[in-house]
Symmetry: C2
Subunit: 333 residues, 2 copies
DNA sequence: ATGAAAGCGCTAACAG
DNA sequence: CTGTTAGCGCTTTCAT
């Protein structure tokens, strides 16, 4: 653009600072000049130069977000896309821009973050993955740079985070299944080192305890990754030893695999529940019952927390996003 | 950050302008002072302030990308994520940052673009969708603002774009099937108003002509959207009237549906080919043969074109990205 | 080969 | 309520 505040000032016969005030919405400005200025802005089609504004303000109104690019999951599970749309929604509502970077390794993640911090290009950062002993969190804390984590970090002290209550979510699934009369419920999980995996398994166990049922370790299977074929094999393995009436999986892909084993062997009467409610869940045959984790909301509230901290220094330490059990054919038993 | 160029200058006993020159890699600087300055930079952990640089340079080194947020496709097909990783890769290589916005409607898309253009926040824009009679393209052309389109636009005059050769890709699929002895090949497509759909259908038809086979209009089915259930129905409908030995689908989801109909009815001996090679394709039973469109490359070259235009004003009018037929079980006939 | 100085467009005291 | 002025941190002539 070529038209600057000076031009507007001249056009409206006021000083640049008055124009600035009108734009900032200062109250100590007469309605009259406000109108004059706004008209001039309109007429000249003036738009503020963000770089100049950033320079004086020491803030850019840009949020940086860092995303894993290698995770298999990135492509099979629209989680990150949902998160991004959620962030985008809040950002648009509050006039923020969004920048993103992908990283392959933890080192790349750290250097991406350092780059953001050092360049003064973003006001705050949203982390979409948490590692145990996360170096990035440590770095950001040391620099005292505003950030929000999606997913509960190892050490929640002094960090803003947003997550589902994965314990509760799984607990409720079990409660529901118990209420329906199920007594033998198998568990298929993956990536047991992740917090979310741990929480879901705890929910599974606690539900058993609370309801007075024994936990059968042979009914608990943990595989290495969220993949259909691994779910398929896990189901097979479980059926070799046990005959559950329901199976809960910590991920839809695992559930797809488990389900397809049942379909293939024509085994009826076993309910299956997945997690994440990915779009394909509803197109499975039978359509898969799944826990929706509201990834978009996770993004939305992450952005909200960050902006709140940035603008009002309000520190809601964390948000818990509701999960919803979406019941479909796979639990019609 | 707090350490500015001035600080570095003082630390190195030179003037700020010298520091600036060292950073810019000016040649008219003695090795000695170059070293002195670099040491000071290191010692102080100095990082240039991008906003200030943008203000003087009139460029931000930021690329804006606009993405549809409503398209069902966004969540079922990792196309956009792949594109984003590709853009990100080139951007990182060339020192650019990336900003994104989602839009729901064409109006939102346009206003997102106007926002980018007006705010001087981005140097160029990548459009990930093309509408016929795209207002955004028109706007950007009028403003003479640098942009690249992923997908071939209606009118390619004066626009930089990158795309697959969808005609060729489908043509080659057909040629392969003909060579394998197939003579009755059905077509299931969707969204016939899109350029990619048109091109793929043309490829299908041209392959018939070139190879001297008649086109049977009853074997061509176009549905409204890329959905599994619609593919399922289409397959059913085709089999009511015809008995093809192969079916080509313009999208994997359509192919999944078509395939599941065959599995359900236990119909053997019909080959199926999909398009896009989404990750789930390889986990289908039977694993789906599909055309990989290299979405990541599309993004990579889109970014490259844009940066080339920005920095060297080199105008490669377009890139064509290779497609690859990934053969799996579904064409083992 | 290096320094001095002006200016990019905006905001925020400080005056009045 | 509004204008004047002084920077924000960097690049870039223009000198030397």
């Amino acid at each position: 653009m070529d038209v600057t505040m000076k031009d507007v000032a001249k056009e409206a016969n006021v000083s640049p600072s008055t124009v600035s005030r009108v734009i900032a919405g200062s109250d100590r400005i007469s309605e009259e000049t406000k109108k004059k200025v706004n008209d001039a802005i309109e007429r000249l089609n003036y738009h503020p130069n963000i770089a100049a504004r950033s320079l004086t303000n020491k803030m850019t109104k840009v949020i940086g977000i860092v995303l894993p690019s290698e995770a298999e999951h990135l492509f099979k599970n629209p989680f990150f896309i949902y998160v991004m749309t959620g962030i985008s929604k809040y950002a648009q509502e509050s006039g923020y821009y969004i920048m993103y970077t992908f990283f392959k390794t933890e080192e790349e993640k750290l250097s991406a973050i350092q780059n953001y911090v050092n360049s003064n290009l973003v006001d705050g950062i949203i982390l979409t993955t948490v590692h145990s002993k996360d170096q990035c969190i440590k770095y950001l804390q040391e620099k005292d740079f505003p950030f929000v984590v999606i997913g509960r970090p190892e050490d929640t002290k002094n960090v803003l985070w947003v997550d589902n209550d994965n314990f509760q979510a799984m607990y409720n699934v079990l409660r529901k299944l118990f209420m329906k009369g199920h007594r033998e419920i198998a568990f298929i999980g993956a990536k047991s080192e992740l917090n979310v995996s741990k929480d879901r398994l705890s929910g599974y166990k606690q539900a058993h305890k609370t309801n007075g049922f024994d936990i059968d370790e042979k009914s608990i299977l943990e595989v290495e990754d969220f993949r259909e074929d691994l779910g398929y094999n896990a189901m097979k393995k479980i059926l070799n030893e046990r005959k559950p009436t329901a199976v809960v999986c910590t991920d839809d892909l695992l559930a797809f695999g488990a389900s397809s084993y049942l379909v293939e062997k024509n085994i009826k009467g076993i309910s299956i529940v997945g997690f994440n409610n990915i779009p394909l869940a509803e197109y499975q045959k039978p359509a898969l019952t799944s826990v929706d984790i509201n990834a978009k909301e996770l993004g939305y509230y992450a952005a909200k927390m960050l902006v709140d901290k940035l603008e009002k220094d309000i520190m809601n330490r964390h948000y818990i996003i509701e999960t919803n059990l979406i019941e479909r054919e796979s639990t019609n038993h």
